[in-house]
């Protein structure tokens, strides 16, 4: 069964540094998403991406965040200047049908 692949699985970064989280969605999917889950809390929507542009974003997704689909296969989330509170599990998801979301295994980001 096709999978959404996320790399790295765990990243540790210094506060103030830039990080890029990478995702390879399923090839025929058209919609792409980033969610995050702070430890012990609910999963929160960050941003959705369709037709090479952001289609929706949450209040969490401020100017420190950006997304890109640089080469037609990868889908990246960049955090420009990380804060301690950015420490979380970040999930990429993609879908083709209205309800067919597939999630990746997540990237655990630790900001120290």
């Amino acid at each position: 069964e096709p999978e959404v692949t996320q790399t790295p699985s765990h990243q540790v970064t210094q506060m103030g540094q830039e990080v890029i989280l990478r995702c390879v969605p399923i090839s025929n999917h058209l919609y792409f998403y980033w969610y995050r889950q702070i430890l012990g809390q609910k999963v929160e929507f960050l941003v959705s991406f369709y037709n090479n542009e952001i289609s929706e974003k949450s209040e969490i997704f401020d100017d420190q965040f950006s997304v890109e689909r640089p080469d037609g296969s990868n889908f990246t989330l960049k955090i420009r200047s990380t804060k301690l509170e950015d420490s979380a599990m970040y999930f990429c998801a993609s879908r083709f049908r209205p309800y067919g979301y597939t999630f990746g295994s997540g990237t655990r980001l630790t900001v120290v």
Binding site: Y31, K42, V43, F45
Partner: protein, 116 residues
């Protein structure tokens, strides 16, 4: 904005028994999708079951079934013949069927323990 509430932070069940996890949601929309996701310790998000709001029939997937009460805005998950591998965090999620929004809105989660 839509909200999803799971009022049971933790539940436990004996192996082979049945357990029901509760979920309520708030929306003014008439067309939407509801989901249950399982998150084991690996933290992967795994789809358990989904329900389209326009369908009156409750969805079933093997040992998993839902009780969808649209008027009451309730969407509970029943796990029959519970197995040790069912132990996980379970999240209820909502998605608008409208073209403007396709985000999933999650509840707080219910941690399910299965006792041997």
């Amino acid at each position: 904005a839509q909200t999803v509430t799971q009022s049971q932070p933790e539940m436990s069940v004996q192996e082979a028994e049945t357990v029901t996890l509760s979920c309520t949601y708030d929306t003014s929309e008439s067309d939407y999708y509801l989901f249950w996701y399982k998150q084991p310790p690996s933290r992967q998000m795994i789809l358990v079951i989904r329900q389209e709001a326009y369908k009156q029939q409750n969805a079933t997937e093997n040992r998993f079934s839902v009780n969808f009460q649209k008027a009451a805005k309730s969407f509970s998950l029943k796990i029959s013949d519970s197995q040790l591998g069912d132990a996980a965090m379970y999240f209820c999620a909502y998605r608008s069927a409208g073209a403007s929004g396709s985000r999933l809105t999650f509840g707080e989660g219910t941690q399910l323990t299965v006792n041997p």
